[in-house]
C-alpha cells in the first residue's frame, strides 16, 4: 500500500488545519475510503482521522424542534435511537436498508453523506473515468451502465450517488453544518452533492479541508412523521445498493395533502428532490391518480444514459408506491425488512 501520513487531531480546528493541505482526506469509519485506497482509486498522502474528535457523536434535539446529528454518529446508532426513529421514520428506515449490520455499526453520518459513487469504472483504475481523473473520459457512457443515472447526468459522467440515508434527508430539507478554513457555515443538503456537468471530479460543494460536523433536520421535518416511508428496490433482499429508491413524506390535514416531500435515490449524482411532483400533490386528496401524476412529474426530465431506460419506469412506480405507503401511514415499527417491497412478508426476521 502507498505510504501515507496518519494524524489524529484532538480538536475540530486542528482537524481542519491538518486537512487543508493538498492530498489530505478525512477518515471516518473508513468503510468506503479504505476500500478506495486498497483499490488504488484514492491515494491520499495524509489521513486525518476524525473519529476521536469530541462532541461529534451526539443526537440532539434543539430548542426550536430541530434535530442535530453529529457527523460521527454511527448509522446504526442513529437508526436505533427511538426518539429519532419516531420523529423521522423514513430516515431510520433508509439507514436500516443500507449495507449490512456490520457496516452500519461502523459507518458514520458524515461518511455516508460523502461516500463516493459505486460506478464500476470509477473503481476500476484501468478504465477512463472523469470523476477519478479529470478529463480522462468516461468508460461507463458506452459500457455496462444499466445501473447508471437517468436524471441530471452529463456526457462527462453518468454516475449515481448511492446513499440511502441522503434520500429522505434531502426530502426533509436537511442542512449540513460545515467547519472550514473560514469558520463555520451551513448549506442545504440539496446543495451538497453536485451534478457532474463538465467537472464530475468534484462530487460536492465542499472545499479542501471542509469538515462536516453535523446534519440538521429543521423543525418542519418532524411534521411528516405520521406519513413517511422509504422504499428501495434492489437485486437481493438485503446488502445491495438501490437500483432505484424513493422517499415520500406527507403532511395530511383533513384528508388532503397539506404538504408533500419526495426524493429519489439511485437515479442521479445526488439524492434527487422531486419538487415539481411535490407541487402537484399540494392540497389534493391522496389518490392513485394524484400519485400517478406526481410520478410523471418527477421523471419528466429523465432520460436513459445507457441500458437503463427501465429505471425511469421503475422510478415512476416507486414514486407511486412510496406515496401510497406514506399515505397509508407510518407503521408502528420499522419492518423487519426495512424499505423492502417484501416488508410486509411474514416470517422475515432480519435484513
Amino acid at each position: 500500500m502507498k505510504q501515507f501520513d496518519y494524524v489524529r487531531p484532538a480538536t475540530v480546528a486542528e482537524a481542519v488545519a491538518a486537512a487543508a493541505q493538498p492530498g489530505a482526506v478525512y477518515l471516518a469509519a473508513g468503510t468506503n475510503l479504505l476500500d478506495l485506497m486498497k483499490g488504488g482509486v484514492s491515494r491520499p498522502d495524509r489521513l486525518v482521522d476524525v473519529t476521536h474528535l469530541d462532541g461529534l457523536d451526539q443526537i440532539e434535539r434543539l430548542a426550536d424542534g430541530s434535530a442535530r446529528i453529529g457527523a460521527l454518529v454511527s448509522n446504526a446508532d442513529l437508526a436505533h435511537d427511538a426518539d429519532f426513529a419516531r420523529s423521522y421514520p423514513a430516515v431510520a428506515e433508509a439507514l436500516l436498508s443500507g449495507a449490512s449490520a456490520q457496516l452500519r455499526n461502523a459507518a458514520t453520518v458524515g461518511g455516508n453523506l460523502l461516500q463516493r459513487t459505486r460506478c464500476a469504472y470509477f473503481y476500476d483504475t484501468a478504465s477512463r473515468c472523469n470523476k477519478r481523473e479529470a478529463g480522462s473520459g468516461c468508460d461507463a457512457r458506452e459500457g455496462e451502465n444499466r445501473g447508471h443515472a437517468v436524471l441530471g447526468w452529463s456526457e462527462s459522467c453518468i454516475a449515481t450517488h448511492p446513499s440511502d440515508f441522503c434520500v429522505p434527508l434531502v426530502a426533509l430539507d436537511a442542512i449540513v453544518e460545515i467547519e472550514g478554513k473560514n469558520g463555520r457555515r451551513e448549506i442545504a443538503l440539496d446543495e451538497l452533492h453536485r451534478l457532474p456537468g463538465s467537472s464530475p471530479e468534484r462530487d460536492s460543494a465542499l472545499e479542501p479541508g471542509d469538515l462536516i460536523v453535523a446534519v440538521r433536520l429543521p423543525p418542519a421535518a418532524r411534521g411528516f412523521a405520521a406519513h413517511a416511508r422509504y422504499l428501495k428496490v434492489r437485486e437481493r433482499t438485503s446488502y445491495a445498493f438501490a437500483v432505484v429508491s424513493g422517499s415520500a413524506a406527507l403532511r395530511i390535514e383533513n384528508g388532503k395533502i397539506a404538504e408533500a416531500r419526495l426524493a429519489l435515490g439511485g437515479v442521479a449524482a445526488k439524492p434527487w428532490r422531486a419538487r415539481a411532483a411535490e407541487d402537484v400533490l399540494k392540497g389534493v386528496t391522496p389518490t392513485a391518480d394524484a400519485f400517478q401524476e406526481a410520478a410523471w412529474r418527477a421523471l419528466t426530465d429523465a432520460k436513459p444514459s445507457g441500458d437503463n431506460a427501465f429505471k425511469i419506469e421503475l422510478a415512476r412506480r416507486i414514486v407511486v408506491r412510496a406515496l401510497t405507503l406514506a399515505a397509508a401511514g407510518t407503521p408502528a415499527r420499522i419492518p423487519a425488512l426495512p424499505a423492502s417491497p417484501f416488508a410486509s412478508t411474514s416470517g422475515a426476521i432480519h435484513a
Binding site: 500500500m1 505510504q3 464500476a120 455496462e144 437485486e235 419506469e313 412478508t345 422475515a348 432480519h350 435484513a351
Partner: protein, 753 residues
C-alpha cells in the same frame, strides 16, 4: 504443523454403526475457535509476502514494467517477471495429461485475458508487496479482444466436459418434432459465474534444498503433487502438501492453477518461504469460472402430453489457448423419456481465463434451461408440471436405454410434492396473491447428477492397544470429510469413531482421488471400506489360526468386527478383542491397504445417477418486479446417506446456489475491455441470509447395490440442479412472464408485469 485435534465432543450418541449417524462436524470446534489452520494462516519463520500484478487488458503484450520503481519501494525484496524467474523443468503450455490446464506463470509477456498474472512482487510485508505491484505501472501493446458468446466463428469442440462426446442422439429428432402436436422452440441464456469460495486461493511455499513444503488448499492432493513435481523437475516424494481444510473449492481448487505455482517459483527465487494469497478480484481470471451458455431447446409432444422429441443445443465458450467446454446440453440425457433425443454443442474462443468445472458443471447450466423448457411444454400441453414430468418419467436412461442402478425419483416427486402442498397449485399463472398483494408462484424442477467413482487408496491399521488408524489423502472442502469419512473408517475397522485415528489432508497419505464430481465420499469411502476389510481379515487370520484364541478354527464360519472385538459369526459368545489378538501374536500392529474404483461391468450395464425434485415458492412485487424466494422443498434420492446432518447441509447449499443461479449470480463483463466489472462480493451478488427462505430437505431412501460397495451416490452438486429451474418456473407461475435469460432481472419483469 501442529497435530490436528479433531474432537468428537460433545460426545456423540451411537446407535449401532457410525454410518448413517448425524454426527456433528468433528472439526467444528476448531473452526469456531479459529484454530483450524487454513493455508494462509501459516507463517513459517523468515516468510516473505508475494503479491501478483495482473493485467488490465484482455489481449496483447506487456511492453514495460517499472521494476526499478517497485524495487525502490521500502520492503520490496524482488520482482519476478518473465525475464527474471526460476526456470521450470517443463513448458507449462504442454498438456502432459487430460487433467492439466494451461496456466500463466510468466512464461512470456503475452496477455491472453484480463486479470492474468504478469509479475509477482515479493516483499517483507504484504503492504510493501501490494504497493510494489502498483508501482510496476505496466504498459501494454493492446490487441483486439474477443468477448462474449458472439465473439467469432463457432466451432464444434472435439469433446465437452471431461471427455464427453459433443453430440449424442437416439431416435429421429426431426421426425419426432414433425409428428408432434405441440412444440417449444426457445433460447435460454446463462451468464459467466465465478466460484467465489470464501477462502481465496493461497499458498505458503518453502524450499529446503530440493525439498518443497507447501500449504495450499487443494481438492486434488495427488494431481497437484504430480503437477508440481513435473513443473519443478523434482521427485514427488520431495514434496509435501498440507491441505487440511479448504474454505470451499467448488471445482476451482481441483487442478493446479497458475497462482500457486507462482508462489512456489517466488519462494525459489528469493530462497525463503513465501506466502501468496489472491485478492478477491484476482480470483476472476486465473482460477477458472463457469462459462456462459446460450441454449436452444426444441421439444415436441403429442396430443396426450408425451414427449416425441427433445433437441438441446448449447453454445458456450472457451479461452483462446485451452479447452474446457461446459457440457450443458448433456443435462437432457437422463431425465425425460423422449423417444428421440439429440444433444449438441458448439463454442467460440474468447479472451478469458479458461473456464473450468464449477459445482455441477453442465448439469447446472443445462438444468435451468431444460427444466424451464419442460415447464413451458407442460403449460403448452395444459398439464400440471409434475403430472407432465411423471407422464414422461424415464424408466430407463433415455439416451442409452440402460436401466438405472437405482432410481427413487418417483418417491422424490411424491414426498416433495406432499411436503410442499403442490396439489393445490393452480395450473394457470398469475392466480395467487398473498395478503399484501404480492404475486405468488409455485414452480418445480427435477434434479439429477451422475453417480461417479474415481480411483482411491487407503491404509488401515489396528494397533496393539486395540485402536485403529485410517490414512487417506482425502480433502475436506467444508463438506465434512473429516467426519463422514471417519464414520466410514470406524465401521470399516469395527471401532467406535473415537478409537480410530483418521488421517487426511496431506500428500504423504494414500491417494484419495480428486474431491470433485460429487464422488469423494463414494470413492474415498470405498477405499476406506476395503482397507478396513483387509486389515480385519489379517487380524482374523492371526486369531483363527491360533489355537490359543477362542476364535481358533472360525476361518470358514467367518468373524464379525464390532466394538474392537472379532466375534464368531455363528457363535457370538466366542470373541476376542483386537488388543488381545495382537498381544498374543506379539505384533505392534497389523496394517493393510484397500482401493476404491469404478466398476466397469456395472457401468456398462447400468445408468447411475442421483435424483431429486425441488419445489419453490416465490413472491414478486406486481409493480416493482423484485423477486424473493419464500419457500423451497427438495427431496433427493442419493443412495446411502453417510451423515444426514452433513448431507442436508450439502443439499441446502446446493439449493441456495440454485436460487442464486436463477436470481442473482452474474459476472458482468465489459463488452470492450473484457474486464469483469463486478469482481467483488459486494457487487457480484450471491444470496444473503435475508434471501434464503426456510429450506426443507427430504432424503429419500434408496438402496443401490451397483454404484459401489457402500451404495453411496454423492450429494455435493445435485442440489443446484432442479432448484434453479424450480425458482425460474415459480417466477413464471407468479407473473405469467417467462424470462429466459438468467439471472432473472427486474427489468425483464418490469415492463411485462
Amino acid at each position: 504443523m501442529p497435530e490436528l485435534n479433531l474432537s468428537s465432543a460433545p460426545a456423540h450418541l451411537r446407535h449401532g454403526s457410525s454410518i448413517g449417524q448425524p454426527l456433528t462436524r468433528r472439526d467444528g470446534l476448531l473452526k469456531v475457535k479459529g484454530q483450524a489452520t487454513y493455508a494462509a494462516d501459516n507463517h513459517p519463520p523468515g516468510m516473505l509476502f508475494a503479491v501478483m500484478a495482473v493485467s488490465s487488458i484482455a489481449h496483447g503484450r506487456v511492453t514495460l514494467l517499472d521494476v526499478a520503481a517497485a524495487k525502490q519501494h521500502p520492503g520490496v525484496v524482488d520482482v519476478m517477471t518473465s525475464d527474471h524467474k526460476p526456470q521450470l523443468a517443463i513448458d507449462p503450455e504442454i498438456k502432459t495429461n487430460p487433467f492439466v490446464f494451461r496456466m500463466e506463470v510468466l512464461q512470456s509477456n503475452e496477455v491472453r485475458y484480463a486479470n492474468q498474472p504478469i509479475a509477482v512482487v515479493i516483499a517483507e510485508t504484504l503492504e510493501a508487496a501490494t504497493e510494489g505491484a502498483v508501482l510496476l505501472a505496466p504498459r501494454y501493446e493492446n490487441l483486439p479482444a474477443l468477448i462474449g458468446l458472439d465473439a467469432g466463428e463457432s466451432f464444434v469442440p472435439p469433446v465437452v466436459g471431461v471427455g464427453n462426446p459433443t453430440e449424442n442422439h437416439r431416435g429421429d429428432v426431426e421426425a419426432g418434432l414433425a409428428s408432434s402436436a405441440k412444440q417449444i422452440d426457445a433460447i435460454y441464456e446463462t451468464p459467466p459465474q465465478y466460484h467465489n469460495a470464501m477462502e481465496p486461493h493461497a499458498i505458503v511455499a518453502s524450499w529446503d534444498g530440493d525439498n518443497l513444503s507447501v500449504d495450499m488448499p487443494t481438492q486434488g492432493l495427488m494431481l497437484s503433487l504430480g503437477r508440481i513435481a513435473e513443473l519443478f523437475g523434482i521427485a514427488p516424494d520431495k514434496i509435501h502438501i498440507r491441505s487440511p481444510f479448504l474454505g470451499g473449492g467448488f471445482g476451482s481448487k481441483g487442478l493446479m492453477s497458475g497462482p500457486p505455482v507462482l508462489g512456489i517459483m517466488a519462494a525459489k527465487l528469493v530462497g525463503k518461504p513465501v506466502k501468496l494469497v489472491l485478492r478477491r478480484e484476482q480470483m476472476y481470471g486465473p482460477v477458472g469460472h463457469r462459462a456462459p451458455t446460450r441454449q436452444r431447446l426444441r421439444i415436441g409432444a403429442d396430443g396426450e402430453g408425451s414427449l416425441t422429441a427433445l433437441d438441446h443445443h448449447a453454445r458456450t465458450l472457451s479461452s483462446t489457448f485451452d479447452d474446457f467446454y461446459e457440457p450443458a446440453a448433456d443435462a437432457s440425457h437422463t431425465l425425460y423419456a423422449a423417444p428421440a433425443i439429440r444433444t449438441s454443442h458448439d463454442a467460440v474462443r474468447v479472451n478469458t481465463g479458461t473456464p473450468l468445472f464449477m459445482r455441477a458443471p453442465g448439469e447446472a447450466t443445462g438444468s435451468i434451461a431444460l427444466e424451464s423448457a419442460i415447464d413451458e411444454m407442460a403449460w403448452a400441453c395444459g398439464i400440471d408440471p409434475l403430472a407432465f414430468r411423471l407422464k414422461n418419467y424415464a424408466e430407463v436412461e433415455p439416451i442409452t436405454g440402460k436401466p438405472f442402478s437405482s432410481k427413487a425419483l418417483r418417491a422424490c416427486y411424491e414426498q416433495g410434492a406432499a411436503r410442499f402442498g403442490w396439489a393445490k397449485r393452480p395450473l394457470q399463472p398469475r392466480q395467487m396473491r398473498d395478503d399484501a398483494g404480492l404475486l405468488v408462484g409455485w414452480g418445480m424442477g427435477t434434479a439429477t447428477f451422475p453417480a461417479l467413482m474415481f480411483q482411491a487408496a487407503a491404509r488401515a491399521a489396528i494397533r496393539r492397544d486395540g485402536s485403529g488408524v485410517m490414512e487417506i489423502g482425502a480433502h475436506d472442502m467444508g463438506q465434512g470429510a473429516w467426519t463422514a469419512l471417519a464414520q466410514i473408517a470406524a465401521d470399516a475397522v469395527g471401532l467406535d469413531i473415537d478409537r480410530v485415528e483418521f488421517k487426511a489432508g496431506t500428500s504423504d497419505l494414500p491417494d484419495a482421488g480428486i474431491a470433485g464430481g460429487s464422488a469423494h465420499t463414494a470413492t474415498a469411502g470405498a477405499a476406506i471400506h476395503s482397507a478396513g476389510a483387509a486389515v480385519i481379515a489379517k487380524l482374523a487370520d492371526l486369531a483363527t489360526g491360533d489355537e490359543r484364541s477362542p476364535l481358533f478354527g472360525a476361518g470358514n464360519a467367518g468373524v464379525i468386527a464390532r466394538d474392537g472385538r472379532l466375534i464368531r459369526r455363528d457363535d457370538e459368545s466366542r470373541s476376542e478383542s483386537y488388543a488381545e489378538i495382537l498381544a498374543r501374536a506379539g505384533v505392534a500392529e497389523v496394517e493393510a491397504r484397500g482401493t476404491g474404483a469404478p466398476n466397469p461391468a456395472a457401468m456398462e450395464e447400468y445408468a447411475m445417477h442421483a435424483h431429486g425434485a425441488v419445489f419453490a415458492e416465490v413472491k414478486v412485487d406486481p409493480d416493482l418486479g423484485q423477486v424473493r424466494v419464500t419457500r423451497m422443498v427438495g427431496a433427493f434420492a442419493a443412495g446411502r446417506i453417510v451423515n444426514p446432518h452433513l448431507v442436508k447441509s450439502q443439499l441446502f447449499g446446493g439449493m441456495i446456489w440454485g436460487m442464486s443461479f436463477a436470481l442473482h449470480e452474474e459476472a458482468i463483463t465489459d463488452r470492450r475491455s473484457g474486464r469483469i466489472m463486478n469482481a467483488n462480493l459486494g457487487e457480484y451478488h450471491i444470496p444473503v441470509n435475508a434471501d434464503v427462505p426456510p429450506l426443507d430437505v427430504i432424503t429419500v431412501e434408496e438402496h443401490d447395490p451397483h454404484v459401489n460397495a457402500l451404495g453411496i451416490k454423492g450429494v455435493g452438486e445435485i442440489g443446484i440442479t432442479g432448484s434453479a429451474g424450480a425458482v425460474a418456473n415459480a417466477v413464471w407461475h407468479a407473473t405469467g412472464v417467462r424470462v429466459r435469460r438468467f439471472p432473472i432481472k427486474i427489468e425483464e419483469l418490469l415492463t411485462q408485469l
